[in-house]
C-alpha cells in the first residue's frame, strides 16, 4: 500500500459541506448534473475524494459508482488520494516555455531534490507540470491552490519555497481578486 493510501481518511461531511451539496442538488436541473460541483465540495473539505466520498455522492445524487469514478479519473484536478501539503503546479506550455518556465522548474527540482511529477518524502511539497494556466502573457507562472504566481524567475520560485517552509503563503498576483 502506498504511503498516501495509509493516510486516507473517512469522509464524514461537515454540516457546511452537507448543506452545500443540498443546495447544489436544488439549483442544478438534475441530480446527476450536480456531480462536478459536489466533487468540488468534498475536495474543498478533504483535499481529495476517498471511497467513502464516492459512496456519499452515489447516495446523494443517484448516480452509479462507476459514473463517479469515471468522472473522477477524467478530470486532472480531481484527486482520489491525499496530496502533498503544497502542490506547485508550474505551467510548462508554450508561452511560459518561451519565457523560461524550464529554468523555474529546474530551480524547484534542485531546491527540493525531486523531479517534476514527484513529491518530497516528507509529503510537504510536490512539483507538477501544468498545461497553460491562462496567464500566458504573465509567464512563467505557477499555481498553488487558488493562488496564481506570475512573472516568475528562478529566484522568485526559490523565495516562494523559503516562505512556504516558514509557513507563509505569500501574496499572489491574483489575490487582489480574493480580497475585495
Amino acid at each position: 500500500m502506498s504511503k498516501t493510501q495509509d493516510m486516507k481518511q473517512e469522509f464524514k461531511p461537515s454540516p457546511e459541506t452537507l448543506s452545500r451539496v443540498d443546495k447544489l442538488v436544488e439549483a442544478y436541473p438534475t441530480r446527476a448534473s450536480a456531480l462536478m460541483p459536489s466533487i468540488w465540495a468534498i475536495t474543498d473539505e478533504m483535499g481529495y475524494v476517498p471511497d467513502t466520498g464516492v459512496d456519499f455522492l452515489v447516495e446523494k445524487l443517484g448516480v452509479t459508482k462507476a459514473r463517479v469514478y469515471e468522472v473522477l479519473s477524467f478530470y486532472t484536478m480531481y484527486r482520489t488520494e491525499p496530496q502533498a501539503e503544497h502542490v506547485l503546479q508550474v505551467c510548462h506550455n508554450i508561452s511560459c516555455h518561451i519565457m523560461g518556465a524550464r529554468n523555474v522548474i529546474a530551480q524547484l527540482e534542485k531546491k527540493l531534490g525531486v523531479r517534476l511529477g514527484e513529491a518530497t518524502p516528507d509529503g510537504k511539497f510536490a512539483i507538477e507540470g501544468a498545461e497553460c494556466l491562462g496567464a500566458c502573457g504573465h509567464g512563467p507562472c505557477l499555481q498553488l491552490g487558488k493562488h496564481l504566481y506570475e512573472y516568475l524567475t528562478p529566484e522568485k520560485a526559490e523565495d516562494l519555497l523559503d516562505n512556504l517552509r516558514k509557513g507563509v503563503v505569500p501574496r499572489a498576483d491574483t489575490d487582489r481578486e480574493l480580497e475585495d
Binding site: 459514473r67 506550455n93 498545461e131 497553460c132 500566458c136 481578486e177 480574493l178
Partner: protein, 435 residues
C-alpha cells in the same frame, strides 16, 4: 480614432473597482438590459445582434445572431452556456473580461438568454481559475441581490437563474458538446454533430454555447446599434477583438483593437516590438491550435478572419504567441504535441493514436534518435488524423505540427544531422526528455 475609441470591451481593464456593480452601473452598465426588458421583443434583440455581424470569439468565428436563430421557435426549455473554459494555450482574454469587468459579461449573458428565452444560464469557468470563480460568483450574487437575476427581473416578468460552474482541468471541455456533457455530470467527451446543441444540447434541449467575449460584446451592440458596431472592423470581420499577447514583446497582455488592423502596426505600435536583445521569428496568431506564420509572412497580414485565412492560418481565439529568434521550433512543437496528446479525450482512434505518435516522434527527434524519414512519418500521421474525428482537437494538433514542419523544416533537419547551433536548446537541454 484614438486608442480609447476602441474600448468596447476593455474600458475597465486594469481598474481596481471595475468589477463592482456600483461602478459598472454608474458608467452605464445594465442600461442595455433595462432597455431590452422594457419592451424589446426577443426576436428584435436577435435581429440587432445578427445585423451587427458579431462573430463568435471562441475560435470558430460563427455569427452569433445566426446561431441564436437555430433555436426552434417556441421551445419551452432552452439552456445557455457561457464558455469560460479558456484553455487554449496563448489565450487569456476571457480571464481579463471576468476579472476586471464581470458585470459586462453577466449583463451580456442575461440579454443573450432573453434573446433565446433561456431560463437557466451556466458560466463554465475552467477549474484552474479557482480565484476567478469566486470573483464571478460574487458578482452574480450582487446581480441577484439587485434584482437583475432570478424571478421577474426588473419587474419584466422574465425569469433567469445563473449558475457559476467550475471545471476540473480538461482542455476538451472547451469544445461545446464536451462542455455540455461535463455539466450533465459526465466525462467531458465531445459528441458527434449533428444534432447541433442549438437544437438538442444540454439534457437534449436546445442549448446555446457562446464564448465570454461574444456575450460581453452584446450590451454595447444593444446600446449603440448594429451600425455603430459595424463602423469598427472590416466588412466581414466587424467590431473590435481582444488579443491576448504573450512572448518577449515590450507590452504583452490583452489589447483591444478593431479587426482588420495590420499586424505590422499592432506589433510595432501596440506591442512595442520585441524586448531588448530579442528578434521576431514567428507568430502564432490565434492560439496554439492554428498554423504558425514566420515573421515575414506575419508582417503582411491584417488581423481579421479573412486575411488570416488567406495567409493559411486562423484568427482563432486571438491568443497571439510571439516567438523570438532564440526559441527552438522543435522544442516548441514538442511542448505542443505533449499538450494535445495529454488532452485528447481518447474517443477517436485517429486522435488518440495520432497525438500519441506525434508526441513520441518529436520526442525521439529531440532525444537525438530521429531520422530524416521521421519527418515524412510525421506528415503521414497528420494525414491520417485531420478531418476524421468527432471534434476538431485532432485538427488542432495537426495544424501546428504541419506548419512547423513546413515553415521551419531546416531546424528539424539540423537537429537530426546534429548541426543545430549550440545554445539553441538552452531553455530545455536536449536529452532531458521527461515530458
Amino acid at each position: 480614432m484614438s486608442r480609447n475609441d476602441y474600448r468596447i470591451l476593455s474600458e475597465r481593464f486594469g481598474r481596481k473597482d471595475g468589477h463592482k456593480l456600483s461602478v459598472y452601473e454608474s458608467e452605464g452598465g445594465y442600461k442595455a438590459l433595462r432597455m431590452v426588458l422594457s419592451g424589446m421583443p426577443p426576436a428584435e434583440v436577435r435581429e440587432v445582434v445578427k445585423d451587427s455581424a458579431l462573430r463568435g470569439r471562441g475560435g470558430a468565428g460563427f455569427p452569433t445572431g445566426v446561431k441564436w436563430g437555430f433555436v426552434p421557435e417556441g421551445a419551452e426549455e432552452v439552456y445557455f452556456f457561457v464558455n469560460a473554459d479558456e484553455s487554449e494555450p496563448g489565450t487569456f482574454k476571457d480571464r481579463y473580461l471576468l476579472d476586471y469587468d464581470p458585470h459586462q459579461t453577466i449583463e451580456g449573458t442575461i440579454i443573450s438568454c432573453f434573446a433565446v428565452q433561456a431560463k437557466l444560464a451556466f458560466i463554465y469557468i475552467r477549474g484552474e481559475f479557482g480565484w476567478l470563480v469566486d470573483r464571478v460568483q460574487k458578482a452574480v450574487d450582487e446581480a441577484y441581490a439587485a434584482g437583475l437575476l432570478g424571478k421577474n427581473i426588473l419587474g419584466s416578468g422574465y425569469d433567469l437563474e445563473m449558475i457559476v460552474h467550475k471545471g476540473a482541468g480538461a482542455y476538451i471541455c472547451g469544445e461545446e458538446t464536451g462542455l455540455i456533457n461535463s455539466v450533465e455530470g459526465r466525462k467531458g467527451q465531445p459528441s458527434l454533430k449533428p444534432p447541433f446543441p442549438a437544437v438538442s444540447g444540454f439534457l437534449k434541449k436546445p442549448t446555446i454555447v457562446n464564448n465570454v467575449e461574444s456575450v460581453a460584446s452584446v450590451p454595447w451592440i444593444i446600446n449603440n446599434g448594429a451600425e455603430a458596431y459595424k463602423a469598427f472592423g472590416t466588412e466581414k470581420s466587424t467590431g473590435t477583438k481582444l488579443f491576448s499577447v504573450s512572448g518577449p514583446v515590450k507590452n504583452p497582455g490583452v489589447h483591444e483593437i478593431p479587426l482588420g488592423m495590420p499586424f505590422r502596426e499592432f506589433f510595432h505600435d501596440w506591442l512595442g516590438g520585441m524586448v531588448e536583445g530579442e528578434e521576431l521569428k514567428a507568430v502564432i496568431v490565434g492560439g496554439s491550435s492554428v498554423p504558425v506564420l514566420p515573421a515575414a509572412e506575419a508582417m503582411n497580414i491584417t488581423l481579421d478572419y479573412e486575411s488570416t485565412a488567406q495567409a493559411g492560418t486562423m484568427l482563432g481565439s486571438g491568443g497571439m504567441i510571439v516567438i523570438p529568434q532564440s526559441s527552438d521550433m522543435v522544442e516548441l512543437i514538442q511542448v505542443l504535441m505533449h499538450f494535445y496528446f495529454d488532452e485528447s479525450c481518447g474517443q477517436c482512434t485517429p486522435c488518440r493514436e495520432g497525438t500519441s505518435w506525434l508526441h513520441k516522434i518529436v520526442k525521439r527527434l529531440r532525444g537525438g534518435k530521429g531520422t530524416i524519414e521521421d519527418l515524412d512519418l510525421l506528415e503521414h500521421v497528420c494525414n491520417g488524423m485531420a478531418g476524421l474525428t468527432i471534434c476538431p482537437l485532432a485538427d488542432a494538433a495537426v495544424m501546428p505540427m504541419l506548419s512547423f514542419l513546413e515553415k521551419f523544416r531546416p531546424e528539424f533537419e539540423a537537429l537530426i544531422q546534429e548541426t543545430a547551433p549550440v545554445g539553441m536548446n538552452s531553455r530545455w537541454p536536449r536529452g532531458e526528455q521527461e515530458k
